[in-house]
Amino acid sequence: MASLTEQQQRAVTSIDRNVLVSAGAGSGKTHVLVERYIELLRCNPEMSVSNIVAVTYTRKAAAEMRTRLKAKIAQLQITTDLEERARWNQCYTEIDGARIVTIHSLCESILKAFPVDAAIDPQFEIVDDVGQSQLLRNAIDHAFREVIDDNAEEIELLLQQNIEDLRYWMQQCMKSSTQFKEAIGAIGELTEQKLISYAQTRLKEFQKGSIDSALRDKVWTRAFSYVEQNPWRDAANELERLRGVMVQLTNELAVGDGEHEARWSKFCQIASIKVGRYGPKNGDASEIKAAMKEVQTIASDLTKKIPSDLNDEDFKAFHLIILFIRLAQRAMQHYETEKRSLLKLDYNDLIELAVTALERDQSPAREHYHQTVRAILVDEFQDTNVMQSRMIKLLASDATNLFLIGDDKQSIYKFQGADVATFNSWKLKFSSADADSILSLSQSFRSHPSVVGFINAMFENVMDGSDEVYKAKFEALSAARVEPEDSERVKVVVLPEFNTAGDQLKAAEVKQLEGESVANWISQNVQNQTAVSVKSGGTRPIQFGDFAVLVQRNQDFVDIEIALAAQKIPYVTLGGRGFLERQEIYDVQNLLSFLSYPQDSHALIGILRSPMFGITDDILHLIASDGGVGRSLWQRLKDTVELRKPGYETIAGAKVCLSNWIKDAAVLPVADLLRRIVINTSYDLVLMTMPNGHQRSRNLWKVVHLATENESLSCAEFAESLKLMREFKVKQSDAPLDTGDVVKLMTIHSSKGLEFPAVALPVLGTPATSKATKLKFHRDFGISINTSRDTEDDTKPSWYRLTHLLDTEFELAEKKRLLYVAMTRARDHLALFVQPQPKASQSFLKWIHESLQLEIVNYDSVSVHTVNSARHEAKFTVDSLSAKSASGKAVSTAPSAAPLIDYTLIEAIPAKQIEAPSSWADWTRVTPGSNVETFGATVSGTYFHALMEHVTSVSAGLSKEVVESLAFAQGDVVAHPDALARLVSEGRRLLEIFHSSKLSSMLKTSKRHFHEMPYLLLDADLSSTKRPDLLIEDEFGNWTIVDYKTDKFKQEKLIQQAAKHHEQLQEYAHDLNRLTGIQASTYIYFAEFGVLFDSAKKTVV
């Protein structure tokens, strides 16, 4: 464990207690996890991997941890101590099955193991997105209809709210049902009274909180102390009176006791103190006035923002809220029942049911895990939501050793109900139990010291140190890498505000410029061979593959993509989920719709216009406009082709092609059909040549892949399913692309846990708060709805305003963390692309501006600046662009000189055709049909052989049971009683014949005989198994090989028939002789006639 720092060491070895580690970005979290896991095993010889549960955030992370562990254990196996070795050997084999999983698959495994305890079907499946959307839609419709139908109270909702909105809200609530239920829980009992008092309390708390924070506020205290200590010389002046009032009120507030109402109104008074007009005009009083103004502003800002009390709208709203909850619960009911009947679970169920299973008293599941699970390690703990953390609590017994590691500053999954509050509550619980149980890893092994320094200074300014539970406490990182400071490492690229003509740039222009400057930054660095550090030490010149461009939303990609493409910079956009909206997918859908239903003219237009055929619109216009009412476009197209008019050649081709495909579509599995079409049309190659070509041509193949996965869907059904998925806004990811030496575009969210040598952060101006929705729910404050008002004075419900405030605070806090995540991805180089003027009041851009105090930097040249915060400072370079930024030279990819080409492989390898049997047995019925069939010869043949096998020398007669069960054993052909009967009688007949035959008497007298004696011949390398029907040794020791034939033919044809089989019998005889030296004569037994025929002598015996 040499490779561990002292901090890490502590985190690893503290296995005697529960530990919560806040691990800063790049502080070797995973390394510690692995080591701790090993340490657990090392120090508890009796412990096996099955006693440890490790929870990671993604499957990828789980996989990585598992492989790392395995590698580690593999090393430990190398020891001379046999016991040790055996031990690690066992761990080594078991690690593949070890519980190193995401929380969801953990729950899934619990449910699979203990379906009983969750009372669910053991064969349950996870519902897919389409399925879920369908279920949700139906459930909601169902609820609406119910309400309208029995005119329930909820109908009021439908009257008041836009029904489509309602529908949308309900979907939201049901998709994140867990959070919604939690929100309902927050309110408690669902009555309006309850809601009112609840809201009032929350409002008071909030007011109180903000008064106190105001009093604590730095500016306030500074200003106030000035006000307090500088009475205005002229006591008679109103100014002095107001000052007095302000001082008195503030001091009273500072005491802190007294009725809240009273305090609040005092606070409001302060907010209303206006000193503008008072005091002398000569400006002597300006300081004191300024100071007072500062205090007043702070107060009034708050009083403006925070509602004083509930209003009438609130009472309407509360009513609505209750109705909405009822309505939603109705829908949820239906959703539940439907899901259950289909054996489906959604992701919320996984966790909730697992919790239920573990929670119920004397739950065998819980008992089981408490016995087996001795340690639980949770990674990315900051993104665990309440339900999940509850589940972990349940899994752990008092004896279980907990290890929770994460970085509250990187918690960015609010929308999944995760928040820092959960993290902090555990922190509290642990530390109260044992102070040493809270550890931290604050050394960044990832980033260059200058980058670390910058981030520290920046975020000490941005993340306020407040203790609120939903905020992350800022903790500085320290750089583990020792490298000289370098202000070039962090670049702030300031985009121009005006174009060369000096007028304001339009938003679109700015975007374009931004894209370009990102592209420039990248290509310049590559050209200048900027150095990046290598993990193993030393440096190398930077490549495209080292760059990541991180943005907040997918729609921010497009301008950057265009710019990169323009400069021929190779890039890949990761996590694009717009697959279903791609044109090439439309094309496939249209194609399949048409092929399965040629009347679909609209689809046909789509295909003809696609590059697959590239029919120009004038031709379509012609075909469509020359009459032919009521005839489908396809019909008309065929007619037109008949006419052989000049100019129609292109469609003649198309017609031939399509007609063939229509035929194929009816008889080929859809995947095969598509594959053929793609290969024949080379559409994938065509797509390569279009913008974003790599993606598009791969997407085409992805459809083929999807088709294969849904093999049981017909052509039409598959097309339909594509359409459905789109309707339900199912997100399908694009086909994977090369992520090698190419610039990576991704959202900050998807960059979680990754690191890149160079990171560019453009599009920083997006407002940090999303626009207010009419419905809000959160476990912290419950639920609020904004009423719709037509009244002139537009007063929102206070409760709604308050929740909006709260929500915004959460959101801002989270967005700050998001920015933190973004910046901490950078290893060696970080570039921020900023506009000179932040538009939105709260945005990444705004924060950067404030923190770096950009307004004071001069924009005209490249210059080095310093960012200062209370405890940190760091240098960074500002590089400002003029409107006409010199766009970097396009990286040339000149086609290499034509190489010598080896054509030996180009031809397809001709198929050596297997001679296809003319036909397999065709359809014969199981049940007697219109005309009674007799069996094929094969059936009665095999049956007779089976019978003969049971004919022994002792008992010539076979019991009824045997005869029947043998017939029965002939399988599906004779499943039906009638058929069975027929076969049995057939068998009887042949047996009759047999008993009066020579063969029968031969058997009776034989010394011994073998039925169907199998033997294996190995000649050179070809082997063959044979089994002659019967082998008899008579009392004189003469051997005979007998073969049964049940063919029906005219008896006079006996000789010819026998001749057919002679060769085969010869072989038997020959083989027998080779194997045993026995000379055997070869007989054929013709069952129909009971004749025994000597195939050698060609005579009847």
């Binding site: 050997n89 084999t93 099955g97 699979k112 053991p122 064969q123 609406f144 209809r145 309208i148 439908l158 009257l159 836009n162 029904i163 089981h368 087996t372 929308f415 717009g578 044109q583 439309y586 249209n590 679909d600 609209h602 689809a603 120009t616 004038d618 216009h621 009521g630 035929k663 290969i679 080379s682 994938d684 797509l687 390569m688 040549t689 070509g693 892949h705 996965e709 093999e711 990811s733 994977p736 090369d738 992520t739 991704m746 959202t747 719709s788 080409i901 030996t904 492989l905 180009i906 031809e907 397809a908 055709q913 397999w920 047995a921 065709d922 359809w923 199981v926 049940t927 049909g929 599906d972």
Partner: protein
């Protein structure tokens, strides 16, 4: 008498899960009594485990009653017999080989046999732990010990060493996805065959789970021109023939839905002749049923013949319904009866697949085998009934079982060429040496594969059972099994073993290379990046496609200008691609004036094509051109809309019409009674309104093509409800309306020929005068304070997307301004249109208002209070001129006046706007919503 597992006894999955458990009991040679006794010993008498044991007991006794044994049951019997003293058998030698593991039952039978033979020799591949450095055999350890225990006393073991490690090369690589992975493999193999004189059988290609590779293999090997055979069971359902039969069997259950019926009738598998329908009949049925909105049910199919125009011929009716009869199963039936029905249907409706020149012989053979398989399945139903005795079941149940059987049946394809490379799943790989072995998909979680045991045999439960001294641990699920399997695969390679893994799967999820691949090398992912696509395709192309792909991938749009090597196949391909390439480029380079993008002016000028110019223009059509010329072209010139199967759900059109009707009736009635919303007594107007709504509903119900679904009752309520909601809104706004607008005309037509009550609106464009017709939902006249009547035109919208003045200015939406002009000019000459209002019935709210008299806007509940000084009416006239010129000139370019018009446009999938404006990544904030 179950209570621990009572909660789930009725789940279908439970039964399967119990059977799995019973199977494990039997493998472990445990009789119900054994299990129960051990549970009692460990005082589990009252636990779910005891309940399961009792189920096991019950199962056995019931089986016994039928007089049958399950397959393990036979072994139990054999064991009895072999140990009974009465049984005599005398064998010299019993030799056992080919077991990679033993279960207790097998061993006990062997032990039994041993009692009757002089010698028992068992060949078992195994190494003791201390010798087993690679831990290849740990998974058999239990098996081995069991073997020793069972046969122990008189076993002498003799060690034989296997063949020593050959000098085999391990080649590791990664590819972007499974397909590229397979393309690389295909390249190796093709090279080997064509250059090193290898034969297909020299190669073994495996992956742990072949399913996820099927698409990749087929695509890669097909493109490479290699013959291959994927040795893996496929779902019967994958065969269109079976899909056809399945549809057929369920046709009646699906109430003869139009889609299914037409699909069946027009399928090549359908025996038209036998049923007596011609192709024309079927086309007729299709058309007519489409026109008559047939959704499902015989009743609706009847309607097809009520439509006079070119419906199907009368006799087709009789025939169709005879077919329906055939396809209708008895509602309850015994298995025998059911199977008989199935066979009758097949006999009557299916053309037996026969080899024919049109088709691949092997495809046909496959279909024949599929049929035989199906026969086997239904036979099994009959069998079952023979054994358990006949009992009637609902047809739903029977159909369910049949499709379940089809679902579960494992159907194998047969190799089609003698020289194909065999590709199969790891556990099916033939146990023989191959020159080169390819093991694909070595990703964590795939290979090694995680145990998928769930329910009563999940590893947790198995562990639990062990604590009751019931050992049902199946070595097959031992964690080390996977490694053993992997290793044995590698060892089948004589010269080279290729190990590979894709970076991510098609679902976009990144994959982590499995430990089998990395062997603990933490740098592996960095040191072996994915092989770049088509790397050597230009040097030694596997096909013309392959070579072109190389350049296409590298050069993108410049591919066109790249001169490709001269080779017949390549030139060939190039010619084939020529046209498509130019189209692609033309669009990509945004040639808004190209005939690929609807711009047909040149053709019109050269008279190559003509655009029909109407005498009178429809206002709404002009409006559509205003949104997007191409959109107009497709809907109005090509007259094409996306194909929608008729639905039970009321379609938007019907709903819209119904709303209009209701309001028409209502306002007419008001006028008749001389009432006015702003002063009438509420209750009476409400009554009148409800009256109107009911009337409208009746009107709607009388339309033949209206489909009443089972929800019709609710839908009616919802329609009512929405309208009432709207009415309340109308009422309030009427009262608060300062201008006291009063509805005077409803559904006012102007310029309709045939109905000349009002002349068309005429707009002069120089010499040309443009005549326009249309229908105005409602015209309100304000309480008159001026000397001229001030009017407001109103339009009811079903949807609720807002309309703003900007829409008029940019020509996106000029409908109401046009109407306003019409009113002033032709309907109420002398009146002044001062206002136009769009009302959404759905949302019961105004969604847009224009003021034509420059009044200051009042506060509106919908956004966009944009003050536009421009004269909207004038602007509108200009637009009309522009539009008419555009249409006549054949300018139908793909040019939406704003993104918003695209959002709910029918032609999104065919206009290819995205190719002109760069394929935009769809809005979606990386999960942060």
């Amino acid at each position: 008498d179950l209570n621990h597992i009572a909660g789930m006894v009725n789940f279908t999955g439970t039964h399967q899960s119990v059977l799995d458990l019973i199977d494990e009991f039997e493998r472990a040679a445990l009789t119900p009594d054994d299990v129960i006794r051990r549970l009692e010993k460990t005082s589990q008498s009252d636990s779910r485990y005891m309940e399961l044991a009792r189920i096991y007991a019950a199962y056995k006794s019931e089986l016994a009653q039928t007089g049958f044994e399950d397959e393990k049951g036979l072994a139990f019997r054999a064991r009895e017999v072999l140990y009974s003293d009465t049984f005599k058998m005398d064998v010299g030698l019993i030799a056992v080989d080919g077991f990679d593991r033993f279960n207790s039952l097998q061993l006990q039978v062997l032990a039994g046999l041993a009692r009757h033979s002089d010698a028992l020799k068992i060949c078992f591949d195994y190494l003791a732990p201390e010798a087993d450095l690679l831990q290849e055999y740990v998974w058999k350890e239990a098996s081995y010990n069991d073997l020793m225990r069972t046969l122990g006393s008189n076993v002498s073991t003799l060690e034989m060493s296997g063949l020593t490690e050959t000098s085999r090369q391990r080649i590791k690589f990664r590819a972007i996805d499974r397909q590229f992975e397979m393309e690389y493999i295909a390249r190796q193999i093709k090279t080997g065959i064509l250059k090193d004189g290898r034969v297909p059988s020299d190669y073994l290609v495996v992956s742990r789970n072949i399913r996820s590779y099927r698409a990749a293999i087929a695509s890669a090997f097909d493109s490479a021109g290699l013959n291959y055979f994927i040795d893996e069971a496929i779902s019967l359902r994958a065969l269109p023939l079976v899909q056809f039969l399945n549809k057929l069997f369920n046709l009646a259950a699906n109430k003869f839905s139009r889609a299914d019926t037409i699909a069946i009738l027009s399928s090549p598998y359908f025996n038209k002749k036998n049923i007596g329908l011609t192709r024309r009949d079927i086309e007729g049925l299709d058309k007519a049923s489409m026109r008559m909105n047939v959704v499902a049910s015989r009743a609706q199919w009847e309607d097809v013949w009520h439509s006079s125009v070119d419906g199907p011929r009368p006799d087709a009716r009789k025939i169709l319904f005879r077919f329906f009869d055939i396809a209708t199963p008895p509602s309850v039936a015994t298995d025998h009866e059911f199977v008989r029905w199935v066979e009758d249907v097949i006999e009557a409706c299916l053309i037996n697949p026969e080899p024919n020149p049109e088709r691949e012989p092997f495809d046909v053979l496959e279909e024949q085998r599929a049929l035989i398989e199906i026969r086997r399945l239904i036979a099994s139903l009959v069998h079952e009934e023979n054994i358990l005795g006949a009992q009637e079941q609902s047809i739903v149940k029977l159909l369910g079982r049949l499709s379940h059987l089809i679902e579960k049946s494992n159907f194998r394809k047969t190799p089609r060429t003698a020289n194909s490379v065999v590709i199969c799943g790891a556990d099916l790989a033939p146990n023989q040496l191959a020159k080169e072995v390819f093991i694909a998909g070595l990703a964590d979680g795939e290979f090694p594969k995680r145990s998928s045991q769930r329910g009563f045999v999940s590893s947790d439960e198995v562990a639990k059972w062990a604590t009751f001294d019931v050992n049902i641990q199946n070595p097959r699920f031992h964690p080390a099994f996977e490694f053993a399997l992997f290793n044995s695969l590698v060892q089948r390679a004589e010269t080279k073993a290729y190990l590979s893994c894709p970076l991510s799967d098609m679902g976009g999820e990144e994959l982590t290379p499995s430990f089998f691949l990395t062997e603990g090398d933490s740098e592996f992912e960095h040191s072996s990046p994915a092989i770049a696509p088509y790397t050597s395709s230009n040097l030694a192309p596997l096909s013309a496609r392959d070579l072109v792909a190389h350049y296409g991938w590298k050069l993108g749009s410049q591919l066109g200008s790249q001169d490709l090597p001269a080779h017949p196949e390549i030139e060939n391909l190039r010619d084939k691609m020529g046209a498509p390439l130019s189209v692609a480029l033309a669009r990509a380079n945004n040639h808004s004036t190209s005939s690929f993008n609807g711009y047909l002016t040149e053709y019109v000028n050269t008279k190559a094509i003509s655009v029909a110019v109407p005498l009178r223009w429809s206002a709404s059509k002009l409006n559509e051109y205003g949104k997007c010329p191409f959109r107009y072209w497709v809907s109005q010139v090509l007259k094409s809309t996306p194909h929608e199967e008729p639905e039970d759900e009321l379609d938007a059109k019907a709903i819209g019409e119904m709303y209009h009707k209701a309001l028409e009736f209502f306002y007419l009635e008001l006028q008749r009674q001389g009432m006015n919303l702003s002063f009438a007594d509420h209750d009476t107007v409400r009554e009148t309104f409800d009256g109107a709504v009911d009337k409208a509903l009746v009107w709607l119900e009388e339309k033949r093509e209206l489909r009443r679904s089972e929800f019709w009752y609710y839908q009616k309520n919802e329609l009512k409800f929405r309208l009432q909601r709207f009415f309340e809104f109308e009422l309030t706004s009427a009262q608060t309306d300062p201008d006291k607008f009063a509805p005077t005309l409803v559904e006012a037509k102007f310029g309709f020929d045939g109905d000349e009550s009002f002349p068309p609106l005429v707009i002069q464009d120089g010499e040309k005068s443009i005549a326009i017709f249309g229908k105005i939902d409602r015209i309100d006249v304000a309480e008159n304070l001026q000397d001229y009547p001030r009017i407001r035109v109103v339009d009811y919208k079903k949807g609720s997307s807002p309309v703003s003045d900007a829409d008029v200015v940019e020509g996106r939406n000029i409908q109401l301004p046009l109407y306003a002009l019409a009113v002033e000019q032709s309907i109420l000459p002398g009146a002044r249109a001062i206002e136009a209002k769009y009302l959404s019935v759905q949302a019961a709210a105004p969604i847009g208002t224009h003021y034509f008299d420059g009044r200051k806007k009042r506060r509106t509940t919908y956004g966009g209070a944009d003050e536009t000084p421009v004269n909207l009416l004038h602007v509108t006239e200009e637009h009309v001129k522009r539009i008419v010129t555009g249409i006549s000139a054949g300018d139908f370019s793909v040019a939406p006046t704003s993104k918003s018009v695209c959002t709910n446009c029918d032609h999104r999938t065919i206009c290819r706007i995205k190719e002109m404006t760069g394929d935009g990544s769809e809005a979606d904030n990386g999960g942060s919503e």
